[in-house]
Amino acid sequence: MALNGIQIFKLTPKKNCKECGCPTCMAFAMKVAQGAMQIEQCPHMSDEALASLSEATAPPMKTIKIGTGEGEFTLGGETVLFRHEKTFVSKTRYAVALCTDMSDAEVEAKLAEIPVVDYERIGERMHVELVYVNCGEGADAAAYTALVEKAKGLGRTLVLGCTDPEIAKAALEVCKDGKPVLNGANASNYEAMNAVATEAGVVLGVSGNDINELYDTVAALEKLGNKNLVLDTTGADVKETFKNTVLVRRAALKDQDRTFGYPSLVNLVKLAKGDKHLQAAYASLFTMKYGSIVVMEQMTYAEALPLFGLRQNVFTDPQKPMKVEPGIYPLNGADENSLVVTTVDFALTYFVVSGELERSGVPLNLVINDAGGLSVLTSWAAGKFSGTSISNYIKENVEPKVKCRKLVIPGKVAVLKGDLEAKLPGWEIIVGPREAVQLVKFLKDMQA
């Protein structure tokens, strides 16, 4: 990947004209190698040199864009294999599958089920972003196109699973404006499929009977000038699929093999048809390890809640915890006489707790302490959520503004009760439940 200074120097015009601001071409080359200057800053660089340099300095994995508007997503562009090295940049996107083999009733049921999952978690909209439309064996262009039309009605970005160039072409006629993925190129049809995808201006999905065939087909497509690809790494079983998916990513990032520098697509319908819990397990596995698009038979709340939570965790910046601003947050129309409830400034905790408090409908003042962006027990163990820090915060910020002298603390830090009673004279300290989910009942019982 990155060229060293000597390699870059060989490509410079070696005029030493200083126009780039460097004393010599050698000095310039060194700066470029360090990333301190851009190769374009030399006005005399030949086109061939520029081309070979941009090839050599291109990122190891391409960033591929699919969809339009709200349904536009970027896939790939990763630079590391493990999240502690650097943030993963492009989230796994999940697709629910439709197929021409399904009965009308089944299709209608799926179409009704897909939009049901739509909620917010810590500021992020969670929903099924993609719909996979599969062209089953024996289906003709009319049947497939009709299904594609129906799926399109959901307004989600489509992935077309179709290996027949004629049928694919017909289907793209009705949906290409939404920038779907056409997943269907393989060793025997790639030339025709390439023509169809390029003409429609969409990303092409490539598969192979094994990893070597996949590699050769990608290389052949690149030769035809198409680098707008997604690799379908689904194999005969989950073992082969996991191998393909890991090896593709590892070859690109660790071994700098750019032929595999594309996002991947894993189709769980092929691996665990009819077994929803096994698909759930595999969806988790391929979120952890390198699936860019994961296709599933269903995404109800049962799958969505843990899966989107996992994805949100895996794709966060390992350097900075997500925090909310400390302060008093009045909820459900609270005023100065309303109950005081306290917790930490870790965004996840705030999100979980405030959601439950809102659900209770009880007016109250939620006081967020500065706890270093850590969870209740973590900040307590770190000494950042203590009797002293809570009482100081209450005295300085809450006492002047709130008249109520009842404070509910998280059940996980019940041990702080005595200390807080001593440090906050006049306050009644109430130990709340351990889990936020129990808050609704707890608050209602308290009022009764």
Partner: protein, 313 residues
């Protein structure tokens, strides 16, 4: 040019630690690759699954779990059914009733439960304390004593009580020591170092590096496991080569996704399904990151994860 598949070979491996005695034993660890990377080197030993049961019986368990244990009224009967679960490799008894902030059951009562379970089943046993460091320091040495000859895994010694528990389990009663730390590679290593300094054989330690449910600070679990496996294999760090066991169910069945009733959250659908998927997805992620054994609760989760492990072996 054809694809040049470059295997990633390590000259180190995760320790093989066997628990149980007699006919029925189970071995954790043993591999020299990242989890399920059988394309780099063949796997010598697959990941294992334990079924969690509690001294509190079926109290607080989900409907599906209760249905599975129907008819079992004593701890011995519950243990038998747990051991018979499809996909189960061992039974994990958690003594949560010992928690001073909860039921605060006396140590003698808990030891009676341990003995009842041990008599009922001959499969490998893991016994977990109540998580309170002082109570565990008193309780777990007695557990280790009561289970002499069973070669059980005692979960867990922590930084605060490793001397009492590590010495009793690892030295006096010759059990396997579970070393529990809080999602941090340095803490995990430090605890292994001090435990071996007590004289405990490094090959008789299993780590619990901490866990969380998917979506609940889980990114730290992923990165801690990634880094531990990386150091154990890539740097041959023998203070991090202990296999990892992760109690999954105790985390996942407590979060809202699993505990909110369908009456409260109608759009979320059946509660048991949510609990199972939370357990299954967290377990799958743990295994992908580096757990050599997971502890689960629901029969459907045990069956599913067992299928996944076999399919990837």
């Amino acid at each position: 040019m054809p694809f040049n598949q470059k295997p990633q070979k390590f000259n180190a491996k995760i320790n093989s630690v066997t628990i149980g005695s007699g006919e029925k034993t189970v071995t954790f660890g043993g591999d020299s690759t990242f989890p399920f990377y059988t394309f780099d080197a063949p796997s010598e030993n697959t990941a294992k699954i334990g079924v969690e049961i509690s001294d509190m019986g079926l109290e607080g368990m989900s409907e599906g779990v209760k249905a599975y244990y129907e008819g079992a009224s004593t701890m011995g009967e519950i243990a038998k059914k747990a051991a018979a679960m499809e996909g189960a490799d061992f039974v994990a008894l958690i003594l949560e009733g010992g928690d001073p902030n909860g039921e605060n059951k006396p140590v003698e009562d808990l030891i009676a439960v341990v003995k009842e379970v041990a008599e009922a089943v001959d499969c490998p046993l893991v016994v977990e304390g109540c998580k309170n460091v002082e109570k565990d320091a008193e309780l777990l040495p007695k557990v280790a004593e009561a289970l002499q000859g069973r070669n059980a895994l005692i979960l867990s010694e922590k930084e605060e009580n490793y001397k009492a528990i590590g010495a009793a389990a690892g030295l006096a009663y010759n059990q396997i020591v579970g070393a529990e730390s809080a999602v941090d590679i340095n803490l995990a290593k430090q605890l292994n170092v001090v435990t071996t300094q007590l004289g405990v054989d490094a090959k008789k330690i299993v780590m619990n590096i901490g866990s969380a449910a998917a979506g609940y600070g889980y990114e730290y679990v992923v990165s801690t496991m990634d880094r531990i496996k990386g150091a154990a294999l890539g740097q041959n760090d023998n203070m991090l080569q202990m296999p990892i066991i992760t109690p999954v169910s105790a985390e996942t069945w407590g979060v809202k996704e699993a505990t909110a009733s369908e009456a409260d959250m109608p759009e979320w659908g059946p509660q048991d399904d949510r609990g199972i998927d939370m357990e299954v997805m967290t377990a799958a992620a743990d295994l992908a990151a580096g757990s050599d054994a997971v502890i689960l609760r629901h029969p459907e989760s045990v069956k599913t994860i067992s299928k996944m492990i076999k399919a990837l072996a």
